[in-house]
């Protein structure tokens, strides 16, 4: 397959040489270091380069220590690009026959050669692996869960949505409506808040736990009855980083059926999601933690988890006007983990440099751009530049 071999046309510092191995085939190409693009684009590019468009791949790379590390999301993809000097060595495997044990967090201790040798020499070594592949645990990031199953009435569902600063919108709308309640005086029509619309591809829709016409009963443990639509909207938005809504689903056929005192057994499509939410992560351990708490208080996520979530929130940039013009974060606890990784970007560095001189001369217009650069949103919108 040497005829497919491409010599990188650009050998400047800004380029990353990529050497990709799939089975016995190698492909070489280069990427712009400053504009790596997104992982899914890169993934498609690999499929294209190896001419295996319909094969599910597991992508790994060898880092400076010789560890074989996976590339499966934007973050570790960027990390891989940033540490490549200058060659990025990739190892592709079919997902069905992937050898998970090859990836090593602790592979530092292993001799370099072994890891690579294991990869290179034993492609089909692990036949005894079970065929049920659930992907790498680190691929998981909880997006939603059903909580408090044991303390809520079966007709209600308490759903937690994890926003995690991702790009995906929460993606639902609420409206005013009326619902029927049973009161001592008989049936009574009372105003209520309902989900009116789901945004296709949004977080809410993708969980399958919320649906149009579900009645919203609580937001983060606070009853919405008697509150206006705008109030409930504001409450949800104020809690959007960690939103817990208790709903009465319009479709009551998929309710979780409690068998004895056990956890959530599932039926139906939404039940399936709840299954994945509770059984794989242990984020919530309803049976143990909540058994004694009153129903209206949410207890089965760790309070400190929520709190720390919030205290990490505010981003503080201290600018020492004299000595250190480059904005630096004051403490680790105040930063979002991926931020520092953006700093080494070449173009950003120049921005900061310009900022430094600006600040010193007393003109103050540019700090905000740097600030925004740190949040890294504007950069992501730029397209990937690939030189073949």
């Amino acid at each position: 397959m040497n005829k497919n071999h491409r010599v990188p046309s650009n050998r400047t510092l800004g380029a990353v040489e990529v050497k990709s191995k799939f089975g016995a085939e190698f492909r070489r190409f280069s990427l712009d270091r400053s504009k790596p693009g997104r992982f899914d684009e890169f993934y498609r590019l690999l499929q294209h380069m190896h001419r295996i468009p319909n094969v599910d791949l597991l992508v790994g790379y060898a880092d400076v220590h010789g560890d074989l590390l996976p590339i499966n999301n934007d973050d570790n993809y960027r990390k891989a690009i940033s540490v490549a000097d200058p060659v990025l060595r990739l190892f592709l495997q079919r997902k069905e026959e992937a050898d998970y044990s090859a990836f090593g967090l602790d592979s530092l201790t292993r001799p370099k050669k072994t890891v690579l040798a294991a990869m290179l020499l034993r492609p089909d070594a692990n036949r005894k692996k079970p065929l049920v592949i659930i992907s790498l645990p680190r691929d998981f990031r909880p997006v939603s869960s059903i909580i408090d199953v044991d303390i809520l009435p079966e007709t209600h569902r308490r759903v937690r949505l994890y926003k995690h600063g991702q790009e995906k919108p929460l993606g639902f709308y609420i409206r005013d409506g009326s619902s029927v309640r049973v009161t001592p005086q008989g049936l009574e029509k009372v105003p209520g808040i309902f989900i009116s619309r789901m945004v296709p591809g949004g977080l809410a829709e993708s969980t399958g736990l919320l649906a149009v016409n579900d009645e919203v009963l609580e937001v983060n443990g606070i009853e919405v009855q008697g509150k206006s639509l705008d109030q409930v909207t504001d409450m949800m938005i104020a809690n959007s980083h960690n939103l817990i809504v208790t709903v009465k689903p319009a479709n009551q056929r998929n309710n979780i059926v409690r068998s004895g005192g056990g956890g959530g057994a599932a039926s139906g499509s939404s039940g399936h999601s709840s299954d994945s939410g509770t059984s794989f992560y242990g984020y919530s351990s309803p049976g143990t933690a909540v058994a004694t708490t009153p129903a209206h208080i949410i207890q089965n996520f760790h309070p400190e988890e929520l709190e720390s979530d919030e205290d990490d929130e505010d981003l503080v940039i201290e600018v020492d006007g004299e000595a250190m013009p480059i904005p630096r974060t004051s403490s680790a606890s105040c930063t979002i983990p991926f931020i520092p990784r953006y700093v080494p970007h070449l173009d950003l560095r120049t921005t900061n440099g310009a900022l430094a001189s600006h600040n010193r001369s007393g003109s103050l217009g540019t700090l905000s751009t740097a600030d925004r650069g740190l949040e890294g949103r504007s950069l992501e919108e730029e397209g990937t530049v690939i030189t073949l």
Partner: protein, 995 residues
């Protein structure tokens, strides 16, 4: 054990809270919205105004105010005081009558509703029979005559509202007693007017809509005389000598009829159309009052020539050779004349006119009939209010200078004192001098004395003179030319038309110690003014602040910058501008703060903020806060509002277009037209039925207007290290960002030469990204830093600079305290996440305890978008109390709220009225006044009790709370014969009630 102790502490805290906080809506300042009726009691010297929303307000001497509200949400159509009593009757447009009284309680009078009544006709009668159109409160004080649409007059005994059926004057009785040849077969129509004979209380005149007037004797129950007018009747006036009746008519004419003598038919002495020749509008009210020497005063409302001046709102005053048509800027509701003399029967002294938007009082005894300035009921909205600012505890020196500057502006007012003197103002003198500044759409700033119950105008500042506008300065001198007919004279100050909306004032900041004032407006203009007791001619130099700072890809689509006059302008004594900053783009200024000690002004718009040195007159700092992806910020004002309107308009246009084209092609195709109509209806219905839904999405940095600067704050604090405090500037934006700058000020002796510099020191991005509405630095003791110059004037204790300072950032969603100089979160109070409300207004206030003078606490006063008021403690940020205050739908009321430094506040309840409220238990400003029945009886004309007899009167009234009730009961029990007795000797009835 532990639990017990904690419980004790909690109850202790509860007790302290009760001593500190208490919510009261205390007084309404300004002019009642949509007044609909006016009444006056000459004996009490009280004025009553009823409104379309069912409120009834009484005003006497300055500070004497009462307010009542009818339970029915119906307009008040008539207000009548019972002569020589403290009762008054109101008629609502739901045809109910209400009896109100002023009852003394703990030495203070209260306005109370004591009875209600609706006329009931015979069974089966149409409602018009009992629909009241005219009310006469008889001078005996215990009879009410009610004329109805059906032409009947019902007699009711008051204050108990007992119908005296046998004394009713039915239409049949009247038609039988007038000659057949006049009455004919036609109906006399409704009762338009009821008047009592001033010299013989037993005679009343009934004026019917068709023109006929009948003088009825209440004793003999028969018509004494009739007046055969033939024009539609508008109003009737019986002259004081009882010899003549004046009637005004719908064709703009008025007639004088002689009623003395025995002839059963009166003859017409005179008929005149004052603005004649061409058809005229109706004269809706006529009054004639005699003078001791010389000709009487004649007052006519309306009667203007229909074609040329039909749209004017005029009252004509004719006295001897003087004839003036007072030309008002809004519709006339009613008017009355105050007369001199101990029993108010002397010379006319003042004409009081209630028009829709203000109360105008004309001094009739001074040459030229000047206007008397009103101490209350001032139209706050003579130009629409755009912002307000409150300054507590004004130093006497500044107060006097503002007053004297204001006095020079009021030379055209009459020197006579306010003619309304009723009641005694018992409110204690206000503890301090407070100023309320209102900014208006026409570029003026009005200074109001807000210390007490009366919001009294002190001074008016106009900023329009600095700029070139289209307005013609001679435009206002609308004095009619010589010989113009009708002889118009403009009166009143309500003028809602603004020459240029860009002049509108948006932010005000006054330093009460230095007298420096800064105001900022709609077109990004920031003026710095200082108080000068002399007039001065000067040029105001403009400095441009380019807030975009080279941000590219933006185009400002809003209004242009105001043009500045380049030639020197003469400024009258008062606040005179000496520096001007103009923001580019000229967006509305959203935040403004002045620091008089450092001589710096900081301002912000939706694009960024700047710092201006008004001593050296240059910009120290300009910072763009704009988000590159925010296009909406550049579109200028009101773009969002337009879009809704636009879509509505477009759909209408589409329909219209389809209609037009239909008409063109098939002229008579009704079916198609109907179709188009149906489509329009469907579209409208869809618009209504489309469910209101709200998107649930966290705020992102790409949202619109994230760069809008919401708050700016100066503080001398520990910004970069904990051992040296430095001046600093803080700015908070709509996107949840806080920017802090360290300021370097040159030493005082070099302040004029060396530049002031600003260095960026910190940025905080709140992750919840809610708009930052307030920033505050707390000193080592946890108290807010004092205002600039406050310590220098020995009015505040210097802040604690030893302990560590902390920073309080108030966003719409939460209160968060950070440490300084290293910014890390300390405590917080979440609001939105808990109850869904958001902070709209926030202020810092000091709450004094009612129990001891020396205890007090600082706290935050907060108004939410739900209209609730909260007090949040400092520095612990704990919610203390919560009171509902404003309806959540009343967006403009919530937006207009302004807090004082002592736990009070104001908000607009209508375009023309401020409601004053108090959150402090100690600091409450509310009317406390006493009104008493004068000792005089109807038939005798004793002089009113002299002021030194007040103590006696008070004693009378205080024991009378119960007595009134007993009397009412007594009068209800009185059987018919005794009533008749009372009726014949009016004196007896009067005595019973007035004791």
């Amino acid at each position: 054990m532990k639990r017990f102790r904690r419980h004790g502490q909690e109850s202790q805290r509860e007790r302290i809270k009760q001593e500190l906080y208490g919510f009261n809506k205390t007084v309404e300042h300004g002019f009642p919205h949509q007044p609909s009726a006016l009444g006056f009691s000459p004996s009490l010297q009280l004025l009553a105004i009823g409104t379309r929303s069912g409120a009834i307000k009484l005003y006497g001497g300055p500070g004497v105010e009462f307010m009542g509200l009818h339970d029915e949400n119906a307009a008040v159509t008539q207000v009548h005081f019972l002569p020589h009593q403290v009762e008054l009757v109101t008629l609502l447009d739901d045809n109910s009558l209400h009896m109100w009284t002023l009852r003394a309680h703990h030495g203070v009078s209260e306005l109370l509703e004591i009875g209600r009544f609706t006329l009931s006709g015979p069974p089966g009668a149409p409602p018009s029979v009992t629909h009241v159109t005219a009310v006469l409160a008889h001078s005996s004080g215990d009879l009410l005559l009610l004329g109805t649409e059906g032409g009947h007059v019902f007699v009711v005994k008051v204050p108990g509202f007992r119908e005296l059926e046998e004394r009713n004057i039915s239409l049949e009785k009247v038609t039988n007693s007038v000659p057949e040849d006049y009455g004919g077969r036609r109906s006399l129509e409704h009762v338009e007017s009821l008047q009592e004979n001033p010299v013989n209380p037993r005679q009343v005149l009934i004026g019917y809509g068709r023109g006929l007037m009948v003088i009825w004797d209440l004793d003999s129950q028969s018509a004494v005389k009739h007046i055969p007018a033939t024009q539609q009747l508008e109003s009737v006036w019986w002259t004081e000598d009882g010899g003549h009746v004046l009637s005004s008519h719908s064709d703009g004419s008025y007639c004088r009829w002689k009623v003395a003598g025995d002839d059963p038919q009166s003859e017409q002495e005179k008929s005149e159309v004052p603005y004649g020749h061409f058809p005229c509008k109706a004269i809706s009210k006529i009054i004639q009052l005699p003078t001791e020497q010389g000709p009487p005063f004649l007052f006519l409302s309306g009667g203007m020539p229909r074609a040329s001046y039909g749209d004017r709102h005029c009252i004509s005053v004719i006295h001897s050779k003087t004839h003036v048509a007072l030309d008002f800027t809004s519709r006339i509701i009613d008017f009355f004349v105050i007369r001199d003399g101990p029993d108010h029967t002397g010379e006319p002294s003042a004409l009081v006119v209630l028009v829709e938007e203000e109360l105008v009082v004309i001094d009739l005894q001074t040459e030229g009939w000047p206007v008397i300035q009103t101490p209350y009921l001032v139209p706050l909205h003579c130009s629409a209010i755009t912002c307000s600012h409150h300054v507590s505890a004004i130093p006497l020196k500044l107060w006097e200078r503002v007053l004297s500057a204001g006095a020079l502006q009021n030379t055209h007012y009459s020197k006579k004192p306010w003619p309304m003197t009723g009641g005694q103002n018992l409110a204690p003198d206000p503890p301090q001098r407070d100023l309320l500044l209102t900014g208006h759409e026409d570029g003026t700033v009005r200074f109001w004395d807000a210390s007490g119950v009366c919001l009294y105008p002190m001074y008016k500042l106009s900023t329009a003179g600095v700029f070139l506008t289209d307005s013609d300065p001679n435009d206002n001198l609308n004095q009619g030319t010589e010989g113009e007919w009708p002889p118009f004279r403009k009166v009143g100050c309500f003028d809602p038309y603004s020459d240029d909306p860009r002049l509108g004032i948006q932010k005000i900041h006054l330093c009460k110690y230095s007298g420096y004032l800064t105001v900022a407006g709609t077109a990004g203009q920031i003026l710095v003014l200082e108080l000068n007791d002399e007039a001065a001619e000067q040029t105001v130099e403009a400095t441009v602040a380019d807030l975009l700072q080279g941000q590219e890809g933006f185009r400002w689509k809003g209004h242009t910058r105001l043009e500045v006059r380049e030639e020197p302008v003469t400024f009258p004594p008062g606040f005179q501008p000496f520096a001007l900053v103009q923001c580019q783009p000229p967006a509305v200024v959203t935040a403004l703060t002045l620091h008089s000690e450092w001589k710096l002004v900081t301002f912000g718009t939706s694009h960024g903020f700047g710092l201006y040195d008004y001593q050296q007159k240059n910009n120290v700092l300009v910072r763009c806060t704009l988000n590159p992806s925010d296009q909406l910020a550049m579109e200028g004002p009101l773009s969002r509002v337009k879009s809704i309107k636009k879509s509505l308009r477009q759909s209408f246009r589409r329909i219209r277009r389809s209609r037009v084209s239909l008409r063109k092609h098939h002229v008579n195709n009704a079916a198609k037209l109907q179709q188009a109509n149906a489509r329009l209806e469907a579209e409208l219905a869809e618009m209504e039925l489309a469910p209101v839904q709200r998107k649930i999405e966290p705020r992102s940095p790409d949202d619109s207007f994230t760069g809008l600067v919401r708050t700016l704050y100066f503080a001398d604090t520990f910004l970069s290290d904990s051992s040296h405090n430095t001046p600093s500037l803080w700015a908070g934006t709509n996107g949840g960002s806080v920017f802090a700058y360290q300021l370097r000020l040159p030493p005082v002796e070099r302040r004029g030469e060396d530049p002031v510099t600003a260095h960026p020191a910190k940025e905080i991005q709140l992750m919840h990204r809610a708009p930052v509405v307030g920033i505050l630095v707390l000193d080592g003791h946890g108290s807010p830093l004092p205002e600039p110059l406050e310590v220098a004037h020995d009015l505040a204790r210097s802040p604690d600079m030893q302990g560590s300072h902390s920073l309080l950032v108030i966003s719409e969603e939460q209160f968060k305290v950070f440490t300084l100089p290293k910014v890390s979160a300390k405590t917080k109070l979440k609001l939105t996440a808990i109850d869904g409300s958001r902070v709209r207004r926030v202020g810092v206030a000091w709450f004094g305890s009612t129990r001891t003078d020396d205890y007090g606490e600082s706290g935050l006063t907060v108004l939410t978008n739900q209209g609730d008021l909260h007090v949040v403690s400092l520095p612990g940020v704990k919610l203390q109390v919560q009171y509902p205050c404003i309806r959540r739908e009343d967006v403009s009321g919530i937006a207009s709220c302004v807090f004082t430094k002592h736990g009070q506040g104001f908000y607009l309840i209508s375009p023309s009225e401020f409601e004053r409220f108090s959150l402090s238990a100690r600091c409450v400003v509310e009317p406390r006044s006493l009104v008493e029945v004068s000792s005089q009886t109807p038939s005798t004309t004793l002089p009113r009790a002299p002021p030194d007899g007040a103590s006696v009167e008070r004693r009378n009234s205080t024991r009378d709370g119960v007595a009134v009730l007993q009397e009412i009961q007594k009068s209800l029990e009185v059987d018919q014969t005794t009533f008749l007795e009372n009726g014949t000797s009016a004196l007896a009835g009067g005595k019973v009630l007035s004791n």
